[in-house]
């Protein structure tokens, strides 16, 4: 029982980070139709900002300022670069965001070097939680790092917040309609471009949250972006391109798979790729992909 519980918890914790990155990716793809190869770099930027700001002013300042900073970065990128690529081919979109990812990575490397920056957790987030004190079905002594539990909570709260935003606000209604047919909305006189900018900003904010809470458990180094981008892309594809529930489902699946194969390093290294290949062979559209999109 203890073993099973801990494996599930670890699975949740692994999926939490994938989920946050994949959520931004799939939101931007579903709405703007852009495959953003620089999304990993945005997450990495969030992690670097978080380290630097929390070192200088403390984590609580970083908690407020990093999402705002990344929102601004996102807006600038969308207005200054991405929007010129809506009319160009998907290949060009991939190329320019790939170039952007390299530039962001290299800028960070130039300023902070190629090595790992230590990310000190705030005092309220370090240490362990004695789970057996709260959960009577666990036997004996069961502890778990507090920060990882916080990451899980933050991640699922972010998912919930995004769903609420998309389901129950006028903004969300327009964005969801835009995901289906942006031309029609433009025709009806809805200013879809400004909303697109904001969507890109929201994607960047989610990346910032991932950087803030994921940074302390990953290595904050210039390769981090690409390292997490690749599995997150797989999450998006397996979930079904442009499907938010699909991304959540697929990241849970990957997290559990990684957690339950932890004992066998040889399998763990390739398990998500194997899963992805099998799932896509059986369901080429992904778990919750919509018909028509990407076909």
């Amino acid at each position: 029982m203890n073993y099973l519980f801990l494996q599930v918890l670890t699975g949740l914790q692994i999926s939490a980070l994938y989920m946050l990155i994949a959520l931004g990716l799939t939101l931007i793809f579903g709405t703007l139709g852009v495959v953003n190869f620089a999304h990993g770099a945005l997450f990495m930027l969030g992690a670097y900002f978080a380290v630097v700001i929390s070192d200088a002013f403390g984590f609580s300042v970083a908690l407020v300022s990093v999402p705002i900073l990344l929102f601004i970065v996102g807006i600038i990128l969308e207005r200054g670069l991405i929007r010129f690529f809506y009319e160009r081919s998907h290949t060009d979109q991939i190329l320019v965001t790939f170039g952007l990812a390299i530039v962001i990575g290299e800028v960070l490397k130039t300023i902070y070097g190629a090595n790992n920056l230590p990310f000190a957790k705030p005092s309220w987030g370090s240490g362990i939680v004695k789970l057996h004190e709260y959960l009577p079905f666990l036997e004996g002594f069961v502890a778990y790092p507090k920060w990882r539990l916080i990451l899980v909570v933050v991640s699922f709260s972010t998912v919930a917040a995004l769903f609420l935003l998309l389901q129950f606000t006028r903004f969300g209604l327009i964005v969801r309609a835009g995901m289906r047919d942006s031309q029609m909305l433009a025709f009806l006189g809805v200013n879809i471009t400004r909303r697109f900018t904001i969507v890109f900003g929201i994607g960047a904010v989610i990346a910032a949250i991932a950087g803030l809470f994921g940074g302390p458990i990953t290595q904050v180094e210039p390769e981090l972006g690409m390292k997490l981008l690749i599995p997150s892309f797989l999450v998006v594809v397996v979930g079904g391109m442009g499907s938010l529930p699909g991304a959540v489902l697929a990241s849970l699946l990957f997290g559990m798979a990684l957690s339950f194969t932890a004992k066998y390093a040889e399998i763990q290294q390739i398990i998500i790729y194997l899963l992805a290949v099998v799932i896509l062979l059986v369901r080429p559209r992904g778990l919750m992909g919509k018909k028509g999109l990407m076909e």
């Binding site: 290949t91 190329l95 690749i230 896509l280």
Partner: protein, 327 residues
């Protein structure tokens, strides 16, 4: 000026071969050195094959390091366990790379371009991480496959220095000749039509899937030959050969040079390696940042790459307007 261009147009292969074969004489003038010339040949071959996929069909693979790397490992293992003769090693390596491309191409080419880019990237990382851990016993894991004191040879002739350069140059010239023939063939015409309008092509009675797979496998064969030559040139298989960054570099050089032109990616490969090894001395650590910025500028302002830039400059020089209606 016009005279030079007319010669280029009439005898592209001869001019190409001359430029390549005289490289040992002129390359040192601009700061190059022998080993770098060989390395440029190898990457040029890699990029040339990639152009048959990206340039003709428009399918952007982020996993071409797979074929380069798998073939490099196969070559290294052949050297280690069989003999230092390069012919059997290269044959086995190309067969392995080709088989990998048939399987991966079949699995990834079914859907649109975006899907293809992401899945090839994922396949690449799967093989990279399995080479590091799952198959670490064969591949040397994190250290790469080391082949101490090995000098590969062909029919007893040691493959190093100028011999290696001329052998590689000959392969590149042959590769360029074949690529040009493919480009002018009916097969090449249909590949280019995939990029232009895939749906129309399907409704014109063409089995697009098979043509895409054909282009993918041909480009993977080029990549396999290049990967194998890399190990012949430098008897060591680095884990980065399989890594996404190798695929990424390939994409960078192809796009900078100008895709779809065959010569463009070769120029791009030469530029990038020259940049990395010669210009990086004055630029220092930031050379990759500069390269990234150049790349972005090209994607944004000059999607045809250097070759398109040359054409524009040439048209300006002889006083014609840039590409109008008439070809």
């Amino acid at each position: 000026m016009e005279y030079v261009v007319s010669i280029l147009k009439k005898f592209p292969l001869t001019v190409f071969a001359l430029v390549i074969l005289t490289m040992p004489f002129w390359f040192p003038w601009i700061g190059g050195y022998g080993g770098l010339a060989t390395k440029i040949m190898i990457w040029a071959l890699f990029a040339l094959g990639f152009d048959i996929l990206l340039g003709f069909t428009g399918y952007l693979s982020f996993g071409h390091a797979i074929f380069f790397g798998v073939s490099a490992y196969a070559t290294g293992l052949m050297f280690k366990h069989f003999s230092d003769e390069i012919i059997p090693a290269m044959i086995v390596a190309v067969i392995v790379g080709t088989l990998a491309s048939v399987i991966i191409g079949y699995l990834t080419l079914k859907k649109s371009g975006i899907y293809f880019s992401i899945l090839t990237l994922a396949f690449g990382e799967m093989l990279h991480s399995s080479a590091l851990s799952t198959f670490g016993g064969f591949t040397g894991g994190e250290n790469g496959l080391t082949l101490p004191d090995m000098i590969p040879s062909m029919l007893g002739i040691e493959m190093r220095g100028e011999v290696m350069f001329y052998m590689t140059a000959a392969v590149l010239i042959l590769g360029y000749y074949i690529a040009r023939r493919i480009s002018d063939s009916p097969f090449g015409l249909i590949l280019k039509a995939i990029k232009s309008n895939q749906e129309r092509l399907e409704y014109t009675g063409i089995d697009v899937q098979k043509y895409k797979l054909g282009a993918f496998v041909i480009s993977a064969i080029y990549a396999s030959v290049a990967g194998s030559l890399m190990v012949v040139y430098e008897p060591y298989v680095g884990t980065e050969y399989l890594r996404w960054s190798t695929s990424g570099n390939l994409v960078l050089m192809s796009v900078m040079g100008g895709v779809g032109t065959l010569i463009g990616p070769i120029i791009g490969a030469a530029f990038m390696l020259y940049f990395e090894n010669v210009l990086s001395v004055p630029l220092g650590e930031e050379w990759l940042l500069v390269l990234g910025l150049i790349f972005m500028a090209i994607v944004i302002f000059l999607p045809g790459g250097f070759t398109d830039g040359f054409k524009l400059i040439y048209k300006k020089l002889i006083g014609k307007k840039p590409d109008g209606e008439e070809k």
